[in-house]
Amino acid sequence: MLELYHWSIAGTALGLVLIGLWGVLTRRNIIRIALAFTLADTGVNLLLVWTGHIPDRTSPIHDSTTAALNATEAMVDPLPQALVLTSIVIGVAVAALFVVVAVLASRRTGSADIRRLRELRW
């Protein structure tokens, strides 16, 4: 049962990364590429959170219910969650820049199709 639980989370994370990568590689609409990119980003975040997650434990916040328990045996690891918060913020920053550049590129070529961006070909 626990195996299924772990594989479902890790599988979802890997699936999101792969779907995102597939989208980046094969889509031609630049907005869809941006969406696929953020999808892969989400998958990586999910995988990171999963590595610190331990089933049946509380979130790493002390309150009246955890006061009686030994914190190291009652909580999940706070470190991956803190790292993922950083990762989410950076992801937002990158996505915002991505969208702006996408809009400028599509304005330059008159369409959202990246094949029209001939300057980037070699």
């Binding site: 772990h6 890790a10 890997l14 990364v17 792969l18 990568l21 597939w22 590689l25 094969t26 995988l47 590595t51 610190g52 331990i54 979130s59 790493p60 916040i61 002390h62 309150d63 914190a71 190291t72 045996e73 909580m75 999940v76 690891d77 706070p78 470190l79 969650q81 803190a82 918060l85 950083t86 989410i88 913020v89 950076i90 937002v92 920053a93 990158v94 915002a96 820049l97 702006v100 550049v101 809009v103 400028l104 304005r107």
Partner: protein, 228 residues
């Protein structure tokens, strides 16, 4: 077509590698390493009941300063690019629902954002999510009207002030305890009470203001009409 096949092959190969590697991640039912210290000593050392906030703001405060700088660079680039090449979108009148919602909801949304920031050391939340929530209230106000934001100079001033305060709070630690961003300049207080956890609430507030003004100026930049 050929591109789809190549993409599929690449994705399948990568997926096979991942499926082979992920089960080897040393998964354990126990916390190891530095996480063990954070969970056992975190509340005593920082006074913060929320250990994720303790890690972000107190233990790894310098990294958070770097993170704030990254967000600053990104929002500055977006605003810079969009003010040089404005989108000049045609802004249509908002529908009835959006117009009414934009009058009703911003106040509760602002309250939620302020709550998330003020209770960053007690409950889930913190400067980053709180700031994003406040910026969403700003976005709602903007979507509910047809106006075009003028200069975002005020937002830029608020943002710079918040960034400066972050640095100054860090130097307070240097002056008092000889360590940049030391959380203990204010003492830890009683963990679990609103006024506790040393510098953490102040730094969360500064981060919240900074994130809110940055995201708001990004939203506003999408409606610039050009010209100054």
């Amino acid at each position: 077509m050929i591109r789809s096949i190549f993409g599929l092959i690449l994705v399948l190969v990568l997926g096979a590698i991942m499926v082979a590697v992920v089960p080897d991640i040393e998964y354990s039912e126990e916390i190891h390493g530095v996480g063990l210290h954070y969970t056992s000593q975190g509340m005593q050392e920082t006074g913060s009941a929320n250990l994720v906030t303790a890690v972000i703001v107190a233990y790894r405060g310098l990294d958070t300063l770097g993170e704030v700088v990254v967000l600053f660079c990104a929002s500055t680039s977006v605003v810079l690019i969009l003010s040089l090449y404005p989108l000049s979108l045609k802004v249509s009148r908002p529908s009835f629902i959006v117009a009414q919602t934009s009058r009703l909801l911003p106040a509760p949304i602002l309250l939620l954002g302020l709550y998330l920031i003020a209770h960053s050391h007690l409950s889930p939340g913190g400067g980053f999510p709180g700031g994003a929530v406040i910026a969403s209230a700003f976005l709602l106000v903007m979507l509910g009207g047809t106006g075009v934001p003028g200069s975002s100079r005020n937002l830029a001033a608020v943002e710079s002030l918040a960034g400066l305060s972050f640095g100054l709070l860090g130097f307070w630690g240097v002056m008092k305890l000889g360590q940049f961003l030391n959380n203990l300049v204010l003492g830890t207080g009683t963990p679990g009470s609103l006024v506790s956890a040393g510098l953490i609430p102040l730094i969360s507030l500064v981060i919240g203001i900074k994130v809110a003004s940055e995201l708001s100026s990004v939203f506003a930049a999408f409606r610039y009409k050009g010209g100054h």
